[in-house]
Amino acid sequence: MTFKRKLVAAYGTAIVVLVSLSFYSYHRLQKRNVDQEWVNHTHQVLEQLDAVLVDLVNAETGERGYVIAGEESYLEPYEGAIRRIHADLERVRQLTSDNARQQRSLNELEPLFAGKLSELRNRIDIRKREGLAAAAAAIQTGNGQELTNQVRRAIGAMQQEEQRLLAERSSEAAASLHQARWIGGIGNLLFFLALILAGVLTSREMAKRRRAEEKLRGSEEQYRLLFDNNPHPAWVYDLKTLAFLDVNQSAVQSYGYSREEFLRLTIKDIRPAEDVHALVGNLTESPSNTEHQGVWRHRKKDGTLIDVEVTSHPITYAGKEGRLVVATDITKRKKAQEGLRQSEERHRLMVQEVKDYAILMLDPEGRVVSWNAGAERIKGYRAEEIIGQHFSRFYLSEDLKAGKPACELKLAAEQGRIEDEGWRVKKDGSRFWANVVITALRGETGILRGFAKVTRDMTERKRSEETRMRLVAILEAAPDFIGFANAKDEHILYVNRAGRKMAGLGEDEDVTKLKIPDVHPEWAKQMLRDKILPAASQNGFWTGECAFLHRDGHEIPVLMALNAHKTANGEVEVFSTISRDITERKRAEDALEKHRGELARSNADLAAANRELEAFSYSVSHDLRAPLRGIDGFSLALLEDCADKLDPQGKDHLNRIRAGTQRMATLIDDLLNLSRIARAEMRHEPVDLSALAGTVAAELRRAAPDRRADFVIAEGLHAEGDSQLIRVALENLLGNAWKFTARRERARIEVGRTQNNGSSAYFVRDNGAGFDGKYVDRLFGAFQRLHSTTEFSGTGIGLATVQRIIHRHGGKVWAEGGVDQGATFFFTL
């Protein structure tokens, strides 16, 4: 227990005792006063009871006087006593209101009083009405004395009660006085004992302090040295005026003020003006008797500002309350800290702003601690909704079942770092292919602080890798030679399976050891060097025929498409080719070429034959007719010139000669027509068959106007073809019909259209001689006749001509008929 506390305890005890005594005395005094009052009260009651009794005696005395004397003046004391007696009784009732017993006694007393008073009244009334005798009789017969005695006994009982209370109260007061004497004695004793204890304590403490002060005075010199030579600036200032009281050498050096200048300043003067307010606030708020620490800005004499860490202690200096301050210049440290802070902030921002990578920190249990923009972009969560959540929510449910997240953290903690690639889940539930690197973060002591997790969205790359694999698979499966090579050194970079097979390379052979020329025959190498590669470099591509060389020495002819792939600055980087094996096509082409040659030759032969035919036709037309003309001309000349020398038989011979020449001429012309039809150029034009048939019929009629014949020509027969040739065909068909109906009484010739097996066919029908169906096959042959010339004229060329014309139109012609049943010729166009 410190001296201070001991002293407080001692003095405290003394004071408590004193106060308690005073309080007790006061209380005693109060109690005595109350007791006294009660005694007075009892006396009052007793007096009042006496007064009531006096009143009753006075009232009776007055009544007796009146009864005896009959004098009205005797009634006066009676009347006065009656008036007072009620007031006095009421007074007693009030005084004893706290005492139930006395109240009950009063209640008993009151009817006795009322009876006594009414008796007195009654006797006065008798005296007034009947006189003295009646009244005296009433007194003698009445029980007035008995009533008075009862009243006296009741009041006496009440007075006894009051006397008992008085004695009780007096003994109570005596006991209390005795107790007060005891308490006062013991209290005073205690008070003095406490005072003595305090005195002893004080004198012992005084001796102790004296010894301490002596010791302090001895070490003060040392503290002075410590202050002056402290390497940190130190000073003492007055807590009231804030003036410097003392400064050390370091402060003088650091702040630029001399010691004298310092002592004229206050601590406000070494602060920048804007900090003074804060300083004053700080001084007023903080308690003055404790140690303070803080960072402040100080201003040197030359105005430069420095950051200082200040420690201040309360101190009494030269009798003044002040503070000892030690200041440490932390400007450099603060700058370094600031630099570090900024650098960390920059790094943090950089990480924060990285969009291509999700960079996040996990605590050792795997909960997200930080979240950057890339993480938000890739995973879809905003920082505020994911921080604090466990990182396992980025994993597929099957990975979660397999405990993958925990496993990865464990491995990362053990190995320092793990890398993984796989599907992860975004906020919206969609998947992305992630490359994940988890690095364990450890503090200086090796304690696991958490993990850094860097995730890249590799979905696109994975897709493109898959696409690339598919493309490679397609290339490998392609039947063509597909490959590419470095354009600069012509080293082959890739050849697909078909290509390796074409060049006779092994399935797993390393093609990159080969160059472009290694897979081509000599001539193709030259062609590549001189033509193909320069052309492709220039135009970007080249297409044409080339060849590859198989290892076994045979050539594979190919149709080559060669592309030059250029870099952004137009330099050719890679040549690629797709080349199709055209061995089969070459073979087919060779065969075709041979065939074509043959065809050309036979065409030439055919042309020559045609020319011969033309020459022949020309000759026929010219040379064969010329002699005929001579025969006919001179036969006629003979008939004319030598008519007189010829007998009728001779003339007949000549006429037969002439007829022969005419038939021959007709035959020749028909033959020429037939060949001309075969050779003539075909025209394609709309042909009005109805009109053409009409024209031909009109010509026939004109040649033999006497014949009775009906032409029935259907309207609207239209076709497509060569109108001149069709006209020739109609001339022949109608001419035949005309000819073979010559013997009919009435010829009927019909031209129309009919349906035949779903396609329409034109027909020419007559009711003439018809023909024997047996010979229907011979009808359309040249020079074929089914009737004798004597029967019907003709060369047998007509139907052959018709057939040729119809065939040239791509149509068909056929005939139906019977002997003497007419004939029908059908044709299609």
């Binding site: 037309s621 003309r629 001579g630 005419q662």
Partner: protein, 161 residues
């Protein structure tokens, strides 16, 4: 006689020669007979091949010195001729100023369309196919005479070089 260099308008009725170019003797005889049958009395000069016909028309060869200002009233020209073909004769006389407008009737056995087209194309005035029936031939010649000797007004021989 007018000098060669004199170009005059109005050749008159005295020029009534018919030039018959025909290599076939039979045809020649028959043609002459047909002309006679039709009472055509004009002088008929016969050239037996194309070259001879050209010689006559241009006064060269055997006909050197002939007055080429006097030209036949009509030329009856066969096509199939020795030496110079009938169509070639036609081409050359159409190319020459003196004979450019001379009436030429192609009289031939050929009924080839080609021949006819080429004949008209080269400036033949008429094309007559010689029929085998002599009677018909006489009729054809009669019609020719009607047209070319009697009706047809000869074009004026105005030529400029």
């Amino acid at each position: 006689m007018r000098p060669d260099t004199t170009w005059e308008v109005g050749m008159t009725a005295e020029e009534t020669v018919i030039l018959l170019v025909e290599d076939n003797a039979d045809d020649e005889a028959l043609t002459l007979r047909a002309l006679k049958k039709n009472n055509i009395t004009n002088e008929v000069v016969v050239a037996r091949d194309g070259a001879e016909a050209l010689d006559y028309l241009f006064g060269t060869g055997a006909h050197a010195g002939r007055d080429t200002n006097v030209q036949p009233q009509v030329v009856l020209l066969d096509l199939k001729l020795p030496k110079v073909e009938g169509l070639e004769v036609l081409r050359r006389l159409r190319a020459d100023a003196r004979t450019k407008l001379l009436p030429v009737v192609i009289l031939t056995t050929s009924n080839e369309e080609q021949d006819r087209l080429r004949g008209y194309g080269m400036g033949a005035n008429s094309y007559v196919r010689k029929p085998v029936d002599f009677g018909e031939f006489i009729e054809a010649v009669r019609q020719l005479e009607m047209y070319w000797l009697l009706l047809n007004e000869r074009p004026p021989l105005t030529t400029r070089s």
